[in-house]
């Protein structure tokens, strides 16, 4: 019997396999940031251990960093200490670091692909659950805890039980205006937050093949939100074209050898998955969340559900609690929900394609008077590219705040937070209670929905907007 894509990549990385024990897996790339690494480096110091492969390790500053005044010292002393601790650790252990102010600083999951370090057939880990993003290139990539960060630093390996395999096949094509984000939010509402638990998932089918690399990253990014160990997509010509010429991509004969290997990274025709889900992209529409976990979502054209309509008792209680926290009434049309803040950014939707999509909708329009729009590029390179293309001017003229790179309001570890009771439409990945600030209420949305919502002040899609004179002006 043939192998699935993830089995091929897994088997290529097994250092040691013994019955009754997890496989010892070699790690090709270890990404690090300031929040989940300090205790790991301290552990190395206490046990007199070193970093085995600094040359397979890369650190960036992203979670804590301010998105304004990034050239000045960080004001919050606790955040500053954590960032300075990473700098000291990188120095002491010889790890390459892209600090605040560096051209390659940014969200770790934006920086890896951008540098060309993320390549097909690799194993990639990071002390961050959205490491699954890198699966878009046909890599096995997953988040780990701090004890495991220390383990990888010391050994460049991880003991891992082999997960089961699942195929998520998305047939057909996404309708116009429906994005990768809508696709993955639809999937999570279908499976629930635990549906992928214990599986490495391969996303496949026509709709996945038609996605850009950015779109594929958005889908893989949210694998963890339905509980999957990792999510990946078979590499194709789009993948190779994206990587070619990037700073850390192979060159010359090495490139040819790499591509020859990458082309073998497809699931064999006679391979079998342990589980399969099939969804039709053609029926998908803009999708938004109403509750406090990413599985609590509905089409934008729908209404806030009634908890009594849930069959499962746990789901019913969870829905009641969510509506109470979100201050929403069952039956309210989603489009009638007014938001205070719109956040465009994060490792889910903070890449150049996302900013272009937002700017295209916002161009020639103005942000609603009672709404704040925060646009945060995923990396410094994304910011500079956007500024080259004049996107920053479009955002600023529309009344948006144009910021520096970082995780920002996705989790509010820096000063970009929601106030208690404030409601956001956010292109990030989690609508958990208090995620974007204590008492804050989050609706997860796609980039086009975020942009249209910023203009109208209520959850909206671009189809709800009045035409502007700019639309069609360049054609």
């Amino acid at each position: 019997m043939g192998k699935t894509l993830s089995e091929k990549v897994w088997d290529e990385h097994v250092v040691r396999s013994v019955a009754g024990e997890p496989d010892l897996l070699y790690i090709d790339l270890h990404l690090i940031h300031e929040v989940t690494s300090p205790q790991a480096f301290e552990g190395l110091r206490l046990s007199g251990r070193t970093v085995r492969r600094p040359d397979l390790t890369l650190a960036t500053e992203d979670h804590n960093v301010p998105t304004i005044d990034w050239d000045k010292p960080i004001q919050d002393p606790v955040s500053r200490t954590q960032v300075e601790t990473l700098r000291q650790n990188a120095e002491e252990f010889g790890v390459r670091l892209h600090p605040l102010g560096d051209l390659d600083q940014g969200i770790v999951h934006v920086v890896g692909p951008q540098l060309g370090l993320t390549q097909p057939g690799m194993t990639i880990v990071c002390g961050d659950s959205h490491t699954s993003t890198h699966g878009a290139f046909g890599a096995i990539a997953f988040g780990i805890g701090t004890s495991e960060v220390e383990h990888v630093l010391a050994t460049q390996t991880l003991p891992q039980a082999k997960p089961r395999t699942m195929a998520v096949t998305i047939t057909g094509s996404l309708p116009e205006g429906v994005t990768a984000k809508d696709l993955v939010l639809t999937l999570i509402a279908h499976t629930g937050t635990g549906g992928g638990q214990g599986y490495i998932v391969e996303y496949r089918g026509q709709a996945i093949e038609e996605l850009s690399m950015e779109g594929r990253m958005t889908v893989c990014n949210m694998s963890i939100e339905w509980g999957a160990k990792a999510g990946l997509i078979a590499p194709d010509q789009k993948t190779f074209d994206y990587i070619e010429g990037r700073p850390e991509a192979p060159q010359g004969e090495e490139w040819d050898a790499a591509v020859a290997y990458w082309k073998t990274l497809v699931t064999d025709d006679d391979a079998e998955y342990d589980e399969e889900i099939v969804l039709d992209a053609g029926t998908m529409t803009p999708f938004v969340t109403w509750g406090t976990n990413p599985g609590q979502g509905v089409p934008l054209s729908d209404a806030v559900p009634n908890p009594e309509d849930f069959d499962d008792a746990q789901d019913r209680v969870a829905a009641e609690k969510a509506l109470q926290y979100m201050a929403l009434e069952a039956g309210t049309p989603m489009r009638a929900i007014k938001v205070d803040t719109v956040f465009v950014g994060s490792c889910t939707n903070g890449r150049i394609e996302d900013l272009r999509a937002a700017a295209e909708i916002i161009k020639g329009r103005h942000v609603d008077a009672d709404t704040r729009l925060l646009v945060v590029p995923g990396s410094v390179r994304v910011r500079l590219q956007a500024e080259d293309e004049g996107l920053d001017v479009i955002f600023k003229e529309a009344g948006a705040e144009w910021r520096g790179a970082g995780c920002s309001m996705c989790l509010g570890m820096n000063p970009d937070t929601l106030q208690p009771g404030e409601r956001s439409a956010s292109t990030s990945n989690r609508n958990f209670e208090g995620r974007q600030g204590k008492g804050g209420r989050t609706h997860l949305v796609s980039v086009p929905v975020a942009a249209a919502t910023a203009i109208r002040g209520t959850l909206s899609s671009p189809a709800d907007l009045d035409p502007t004179t700019t639309i069609g002006a360049d054609s």
């Binding site: 250092v15 040691r16 024990e21 010892l24 070699y26 090709d28 790339l29 929040v35 989940t36 300090p38 205790q39 046990s47 600094p54 040359d55 397979l56 890369l58 979670h63 804590n64 919050d76 606790v78 955040s79 954590q82 010889g94 060309g116 390549q119 690799m122 002390g127 961050d128 659950s129 805890g145 701090t146 004890s147 010391a154 050994t155 460049q156 003991p159 039980a161 937050t193 635990g194 963890i224 939100e225 509980g227 160990k229 850390e248 991509a249 090495e254 490139w255 050898a257 976990n293 746990q314 209680v317 969870a318 989790l411 570890m413 989690r430 958990f432 209670e433 208090g434 995620r435 008492g439």
Partner: protein, 201 residues
């Protein structure tokens, strides 16, 4: 890591599903660089509510948390495990755990015991009837026990063999892996040269 064989302590009913790690400890507490002292962040948003279970005196000595399905989903923060342990918990019982949380628990010495949803319901009912009631957990036999007489709850729980063994022995994972340093070196010698490096020689 301290070895774990068995534990008996006050059970705490957390009647919620989908308790993500942001609820266990919000991001604002993650800025510290220390490995201990996270108990103040545990369920911090919910602890403002005087009726929250941890604020009730009968559960003050709680060490065994009984939660609904999908406990510990979301963020990879091991701080969630540290906060539970710093607060005094040694065991979490749930029908389903987030993968990364379950892995982190095994590394840090917190027992994540997976049980049938019906068992959680029975334990919740038992604790409601007997606030401050005790739950016993035996890792050797993978069983748990609460109450006496005809209404006593006795059931098994799931945990993978390898994590169970490591917890019973209190083993340091890195030490075990470094015992296979020759295998790692042999693997590295065979890695293709086109694999990327962050630092070039």
């Amino acid at each position: 890591m301290e070895a774990f064989t068995s534990h008996t302590g006050v059970g705490v009913p957390l009647r919620r599903s989908n308790v993500d790690t942001d609820q266990i400890i919000p991001a604002v507490y993650l800025k510290r660089v220390s490995r201990t002292g996270f108990e103040d962040g545990l369920f911090s948003a919910w602890r403002n509510d005087p009726d929250f279970v941890l604020n009730r005196p009968e559960y003050a000595a709680g060490t065994v948390l009984v939660a609904g399905p999908d406990f510990g989903t979301g963020s990879s923060r091991e701080h969630a495990v540290w906060a539970l342990m710093d607060y005094g918990f040694r065991v979490v019982i749930s029908p389903r755990f987030g993968d990364i949380f379950r892995g982190n628990s095994g590394k840090a010495g917190l027992l994540a015991a997976r049980v049938d949803e019906k068992v959680v319901q029975r334990l919740w009912d038992f604790l409601d009837d007997n606030p401050g009631g005790v739950i016993s957990v035996d890792l050797e036999s993978r069983t748990l026990k609460a109450g006496d007489g005809v209404d006593a709850i006795e059931d098994s729980f799931d945990i993978d063999d390898y994590t169970r063994w490591r917890l019973l022995e209190g083993l340091d994972d890195i030490g075990i892996t470094l015992g296979h340093a020759d295998d790692i070196a042999a693997f590295e010698a065979g890695r293709p040269s086109y694999k990327p490096q962050t630092i070039r020689a």
